[in-house]
């Protein structure tokens, strides 16, 4: 109502003032390509008279006699003012905004000029990901956005990636950010139920990415309400641009290898160490080594067993089992894209094909896909479009890190064991120490095929220059087929003449939203409102058939299984319904204010607690717009901003609030038993976050940066609260406990050299401190580590803190492993009885700092990109140490450092006396197996050469570029394991970080490529 009064008033005044008027016609275009600018705002300066340009970039405006200046603005372009003079026809050029501070960023349900932002959003341009020889975009994101921690849990292809925005945000609910591709949230739920989790985003072709925006602070992400608390990653794919059609072709090929390998004993060392260990055990028991039951006899009988058709006494027959696990990998990728458009239609279409042979045997990934992004003007007011993406991925997956069949576990085999017998048949137990995983390669295969379609349609309707409505409907449909067959000598199939299963999953997600937006400018007051509603629905159906008894290993599908041993079909689903609103205000782009709120409802909560409200408010002040600083050459930009907001987390099981009974079976009959204890009061986990930030630009923005401080308090944690198992349940979902993440982020971008030789640097570093403030009353710790793993949740410490016995080395007198007692009143006392050593906090698996540094040099057509990424201050636990580095406690081959074992009185070493079959320091849960996990990695080096355009003349070839890229080329770390970027895939959870268990190292990849543009 106010608005109408206001408008009328202004109009009356204008009419009174403008006795004489004249009509001006004009056209607005981009000088770079000559394309008309559609929808640019054209206003008469210091009035409210305005219009927008049409599809040809044309406009008509009426101005009063005494007015002479027209200003033109358009998102992403520099606002321009034109003096009309006595012309009636105007050709106005406006230039794309290339300044870092004035770039446009994608925000939730919209776009905004960066300088007017009041929240913290990290933007990574698609250019930074282009042509990287990695499987999924997250690997490209690593080290590029401040405060965004990215980890591939191991080096297996297609495996899970973990992203944590500003620390670990929850103990039991999800901790992954919400990923939204062109408006549709992609559920990152593991898409398979057996084996190591998969990464659903591996299907996505990151060469289609225009930009990735990571919404980090509450004001930026609160618009995503209940799903925003872990941050939001918005992926925008490329769209066509008006103008000439472009074709781009990119092909690359290369090879890969492990970043690092460990060293294990050879035959001579193995026989020596284990003979010694057996002898020591006899001494320890006071037994005679020549007794039939002695350890010394036993060890020789084992050597005889393990050496197959060779003779261990020769000490010359060697198998380097580690080498059997690895191979030289290969990478090849090809992408083709077309883009272009005219004033009515814009298009972007692409096709991609990639093939990866992993660094581990039998681990391959093939992906292909296509995309069409199309939008067109249906009328002067309506623009409609469709984004369609189909992708096909085939992954030959390995078993998880905990399986004997996973290649890395081959290292446990004795070096005296040959791989094959005289007839060329692979040895298995009893000749091999454990199941020989090479049999899985020869006789087994597990292929996961995913077909995914992500489609969205949208319509943008502008009622007038100020009011618009955008409606989007999107769906993400996938089918996943996980087929496995294991032959009659494999671990799975050797007792049943082969074993196989076929698993199908179908995911069917859809999302609709409608947002009404209104923007206007009153003199220096810019005001905007958005109001919207959204509905998201996800359904998953799975079926499974398991069979045994195959006629021969040649039959791999279940049609040939004589015995069907299991089958199942399941359904699950969840939905969200949301309403949201946002108001923006700025005065002369100097004082900025943003308020938003969202109401979310979810099927995951009980009817009484279904809805919650998530508000946010933020403000900014651009000091360089003040007269005193305006035009200052040194301090070219300075903005301070602050935000507060609340976001939520509903990433829990679909029916977690209810008291449930599940079916089971016994003796061929159905059974029922309680599976979950009810908590009808269960509700949202909430995060309150404050953020203070400074954005600055120096020396005409040659050097720019951002500095942020934030505190994020998460309360009402959706906790699987441990309850006494005497109730019949081990845990109950409760809203209890508190968690805090606070930290500092710094981003610096610098154009060090401009001109013919350019050098730009971009640097980011972030410190995050995670602390568990409270758990269930009286509860200090949640410890699910058992005897092998050490990650716990403990009040006062970071999530996943390592908690166990503190190793004190070796007693020089007798070679016993000793630990600090760490009791309440025994300072520094040690014990050789592990059970008497109290558990203490040993360190955190979460880094104190993460960061990245990239430098780009270019001269003529040559460009060199060098990017480092690293983390500092975290620890890694080698939980396999109790097997591979246990001073010959059992027959697993040992790492060479175990040769430093204690042998005689007075020996000073960290490796206890070798005693076969006895625990002498082999307890995994001790700081003996903990080490510094900091690393610095040369993540990416890319050298490219652009051929001079004159070479091609008028052939139509626009751009030819030859490049060579390497990833993970160098890793600097003190960690002695395979690779410091590690978490065992079968353990990876909110709580478990930095725990290594025969986890595959990352791949070091080199490719050469060619990019041609027409």
């Amino acid at each position: 109502m106010k608005r109408i009064v206001f408008t009328l008033l202004i109009t009356c005044l204008a009419v009174l003032a403008a006795v004489a008027q004249r009509r001006i016609e004009g056209r607005v275009y981009d000088p770079a390509n000559g394309d008309p600018i559609i929808g640019a705002t054209v206003t008469v300066k210091n009035t409210t008279v305005g219009t927008v340009t049409d599809l040809d970039g044309k406009f008509v405006i009426t101005i009063a006699k005494n007015e002479d200046i027209i200003s033109v603005s358009y998102t992403g372009y520099v606002s321009t003012e034109v003096v009309v003079g006595n012309r009636n026809q105007l050709d106005i050029v406006i230039n794309q905004n290339t300044s870092i501070l004035d770039e446009v960023v994608v925000v939730g349900y919209g776009k905004q000029i960066k300088s007017t932002l009041t929240g913290n959003i990290a933007k990574v341009s698609g250019e930074n990901l282009k042509s990287m020889p990695v499987v999924s975009f997250e690997q490209g994101l690593q080290g590029q956005a401040a405060g965004v921690y990215v980890e591939s849990v191991n080096g297996k292809l297609g495996g899970a990636m973990r992203i944590r925005v500003r620390g670990v945000g929850s103990i039991n609910a999800g901790t992954e950010p919400l990923v939204v591709i062109d408006g549709i949230p992609i559920s990152k739920d593991a898409t398979n139920e057996s084996g190591a989790p998969l990464n659903p985003l591996a299907d996505f072709n990151f060469n289609d990415v225009e930009s990735i925006e990571v919404l980090k602070d509450a004001s930026a992400k609160a618009i995503y309400g209940s799903r925003g608390s872990n941050g939001v990653i918005l992926i925008t794919t490329k769209s066509g641009k008006s103008g000439k059609s472009r074709i781009e072709f990119d092909i690359q090929t290369g090879m890969s290898q492990a970043t690092h390998k460990r060293e294990f004993l050879n035959s001579k060392e193995y026989v020596e160490l284990f003979s010694e260990a057996a002898y020591n055990s006899d001494l320890f028991e006071g037994a005679d080594s020549s007794d039939s039951g002695s350890w010394s006899r036993f060890v020789r009988s084992r050597f005889n067993r393990y050496d197959g058709n060779t003779n261990w006494r020769d000490l010359k027959d060697q198998t380097d089992w580690q080498e059997q696990a690895f191979r030289k990998g290969s990478v090849s990728n090809a992408t083709l894209s077309f883009s272009g458009g005219n004033d009515k239609v814009r298009y972007y279409a692409s096709a991609n094909f990639g093939k990866n042979e992993g660094i581990l045997i039998a681990n391959d990934l093939e992906k292909s896909g296509g995309r069409v992004n199309l939008d067109f003007a249906a009328s002067k007011r309506l623009r409609v479009g469709v984004n369609l993406n189909v992708a096909r991925t085939k992954l030959d997956q390995l078993s998880d890190d905990n399986a004997f069949s996973t290649p890395i576990q081959l290292v446990a085999m004795a070096p005296i064991t040959p791989t094959r017998d005289a007839a060329g048949v692979l040895y298995d137990r009893p000749t091999t120490t454990y199941y020989n995983g090479l049999i899985d390669v020869e006789q087994g295969n597990r292929s996961i095929r995913t077909l995914r379609t992500i489609a969205s349609v949208f319509g943008d309707y502008s009622f007038n220059a100020h009011l618009g409505l955008r409606v989007e409907a999107a769906s993400n449909i996938y089918t996943l087929n996980d087929d496995a067959h294991f032959g009659n000598r494999t671990d799975n199939g050797n007792d049943s003449n082969g074993y196989g299963y076929s698993r199908w999953s179908q995911g069917d997600d859809y999302n609709t939203n409608a947002v009404l937006h209104w923007d206007n400018q009153y003199n220096k007051h810019a005001v905007g409102f958005d109001a919207g509603t959204e509905f998201f629905n996800s359904r998953t159906r799975r079926t499974l058939v398991v069979g045994e008894q195959f006629p021969s290993n040649d039959f791999k599908t279940l049609a040939s299984a004589a015995l069907i041993t299991a089958g199942s079909s399941t359904f699950t689903g969840y939905s969200f319904l949301s309403y949201f609103g946002r108001a923006r205000y700025n005065f002369d782009r100097k004082y900025l204010l943003n308020v938003s709120g969202r109401v979310d409802g979810s099927s995951r909560f009980g009817a009484d607690n279904r809805y919650a409200f998530f508000p946010a408010v933020s403000a900014g002040w651009v000091l360089t717009e003040e007269d005193i600083l305006k035009g200052n050459k040194t301090l070219s930009f300075l903005k301070i901003r602050a935000s507060w907001g609340q976001s939520g987390n509903a990433d829990i099981g679909n029916f977690q609030s209810r008291g449930l009974y599940d079916a089971g079976k016994y003796d061929g009959i159905s059974t029922l038993a309680p599976s979950q204890i009810a908590n009808p009061a269960l509700t949202w986990e909430k995060s309150q976050e404050v953020d203070f930030g400074i954005d600055f630009g120096l020396f005409n923005n040659r050097l720019s940066g951002e500095l942020d401080y934030y505190v994020k308090n998460t309360t009402d944690l959706l906790l699987d609260a441990p309850i006494p198992a005497t109730t019949g349940f081990a845990s109950q979902s409760q809203n209890i406990g508190k968690l805090r993440n606070k930290g500092v982020e710094l981003v610096l971008n610098s154009n060090n050299l401009v001109g013919k030789f350019t050098w730009t640097t971009s640097f980011n570093i972030a410190a995050n401190q995670n602390e568990v403030i409270a758990l269930v009353a009286d509860q200090q710790i949640i410890d699910n580590g058992g005897s092998r793993y050490m990650n716990v949740v403990k009040v006062g410490e970071a999530i996943g803190t390592f908690y166990g016995a503190e190793y004190a080395g070796v007693d020089p007198q007798n070679g016993d492993a000793i630990w600090y007692v760490n009791g309440p009143d025994n300072n520094g006392a040690t014990t050789n009885d592990y059970a008497l050593a109290n558990s203490v906090v040993l360190g955190s698996p979460l880094p104190k700092f993460i960061g990245g540094l990239s430098n780009t040099f270019s001269y003529g057509g040559v460009t060199l990109d060098v990017r480092f990424q690293g983390q500092y201050g975290n620890k890694i636990h080698n939980s396999g140490g109790g097997f591979m580095s246990c001073n010959a406690c059992w027959f697993d081959n040992q790492t060479t450092d175990q040769l430093d074992r204690w042998q005689k009185e007075g020996d000073i070493t960290q490796v206890p006396q070798a005693r076969l079959g006895y625990s002498n320091g082999d307890q995994s849960r001790s700081s003996r197996y903990l080490s510094d996990g900091s690393y610095l990695r040369l993540k990416n080096v890319s050298l490219s050469y652009q051929l001079p355009s004159r070479v091609f003349g008028k052939s139509g070839v626009r751009d030819v570029r030859i490049y060579a890229t390497g990833t993970n080329l160098l890793t600097f770390t003190k960690y002695k394991g395979w690779d410091p970027e590690v978490t065992a895939d079968f353990l990876a959870s909110n709580v478990v970080y930095g725990t290594d268990f025969y986890s595959a190292p990352q791949a070091k990849t080199y490719v050469v490529g060619l990019r041609v543009g027409f």
Binding site: L516, F571, L577, N654, L660, S675, G786
Partner: protein, 442 residues
């Protein structure tokens, strides 16, 4: 007009959104509510079957009931050579409070107990004609679970003693929510034994003589006989064992080999865990057997010291085989086979032992198993003879550690009541419930 359009579209959007509210109602497909599960006769009976399922889990009777006792009492007769830390710690008498197996057994035991308590709570829902039987079965399973737990987590029952040492918490009501009463403290060993005895007596009276593969009157009697052997009430034990034998419902199989690796109950089985390729756990095969038969790597090896106990010609000695470089027991060789839990041979041996202890002749009962093993009948058997016969007949069946404890023997130089032969209360449990006291040495 423009304003009208926008107003209309806003209203339309809100209407659209409101219509979606119903879409927030999504019901689970693989579960039903607690209320529904406990509200009908048929459902409650199905929940009772759930208690059998829980009892038969690998962490309870489907495996660990045997392996834990045998590994603890190994004394050089068997050897653990596998990689599982939890079992290795049990074998080495070096258990940590975080031991995975100690955690699993505790959880499983009380899961079964809670299901029984749920069934017992809603008995009025069950048809009157079936009520006694349902109640008897639930009491049997609850008693069995308590008996398994108390023998591992508490210091041994001292025959003739006050038994005020800490037992395990007794929980007799179902859990429907979490409140202060959920944080229970440990009862004494005596209280737990009393509860087991009460439950089994009642079960014995309520259960039918024939109940298929489920708990019958004889199963309750057999378990009570075993119970009384453990708490030293030998006359009761003997009467119960004799009554089971005299019922003539059961008969020893012709050979020991006939009693094991079966798909169905044998004539000798009083109660057995039912296992098929479809359901039921036989974790014993995983550890005792080898890959050729569906086992893991032959994690438990039988040592010569054990074989030396047998006389030549004893068929039970030959009921071992050489596989993957070591000696194995044939009792747990094949996968997907039933696990005999209470079998008639045990009744004969209880009868024989109690008879000899009472100064009577145990010859007849002794010879029942002795001659089946292909050996000549013996006369005037002594207590030592019976105990050796028991050890051979019931070898690898989970009696070892419990027998050492009741006979006040020793293993690996540790006395029968050494704290390291008692499981820790799981560390997880101690931290979740401050009312629980930890065992000595942890």
């Amino acid at each position: 007009m423009k304003r009208n359009i926008s107003t209309i579209s806003i209203v339309a959007l809100l209407l659209l959104a409101a219509a979606c509210d119903k879409k927030l109602d999504i019901e689970p497909a693989q579960s039903i509510s607690e209320g529904l599960a406990l509200s009908t006769d048929a459902n409650v009976k199905t929940v009772l079957l759930g208690a059998y399922d829980a009892l038969s889990e690998g962490a309870l009777l489907g495996g660990s009931g045997v392996t834990y006792s045998e590994l603890q009492g190994a004394d050089g007769e068997i050897r653990w050579v596998g990689t599982y830390t939890g079992l290795r710690q049990i074998f080495n008498h070096q258990m940590a409070a975080e031991n995975d197996d100690a955690d699993a057994l505790w959880k499983r035991g009380y899961t079964a107990i809670n299901i029984c308590n749920n069934v017992l709570e809603v008995l009025p829902v069950v048809k009157e004609a079936d009520r006694d039987q349902v109640k008897g079965e639930a009491l049997f399973i609850r008693a069995f679970s308590y008996f398994q737990l108390v023998r591992f987590y508490a210091k041994p029952f001292e025959i003739g003693g006050a038994n005020t040492q800490l037992g395990i918490p007794i929980v007799l009501r179902p859990t429907r929510g979490i409140d202060a009463s959920s944080f229970v403290a440990r009862n004494t060993v005596k209280q737990v034994y009393d509860q087991i005895e009460t439950d089994l007596h009642e079960a014995m009276d309520l259960l039918p003589e024939d109940n298929g593969t489920r708990a019958s009157k004889y199963a309750a009697m057999a378990l009570l006989a075993r119970f009384h052997l453990q708490n030293g009430v030998y006359t009761e034990a003997r009467e119960l064992a004799d009554a089971v034998i005299a019922s003539n419902v059961f008969a020893l199989t012709p050979t020991i080999a006939d009693e094991f690796n079966n798909d169905e109950n044998t004539s000798e089985d009083i109660f057995a865990v039912q296992v098929s390729d479809q359901d039921g756990d036989n974790d014993l095969v995983i550890y005792y057997s080898i890959p050729d038969f569906g086992g893991r790597d032959g994690d438990i090896e039988i040592e010569q010291k054990h074989l030396d106990l047998y006389t030549n010609g004893d068929e039970r000695k030959d009921f071992h085989y050489e596989g993957n470089g070591a000696l194995r027991t044939t009792k747990w060789r094949d996968q997907y086979k039933n696990i005999p839990v209470l079998r008639l041979a045990e009744m004969y041996l209880i009868s024989a032992e109690c008879a000899v202890r009472a100064g009577a002749s145990g010859d007849a009962a002794y010879n029942a198993t002795h001659t089946r093993a292909g050996l000549a009948p013996a006369g005037n058997v002594t207590l030592d003879d019976v105990l050796l016969e028991r050890r051979l007949e019931l070898a690898h069946e989970g009696h070892r550690m419990h027998d050492v404890k009741r006979l006040k023997g020793s293993v690996d130089g540790l006395g029968y009541n050494d704290p390291s032969l008692v499981f820790p209360i799981p560390a997880r449990e101690i931290s979740a419930n401050k009312n629980l006291e930890q065992n000595e040495g942890y």
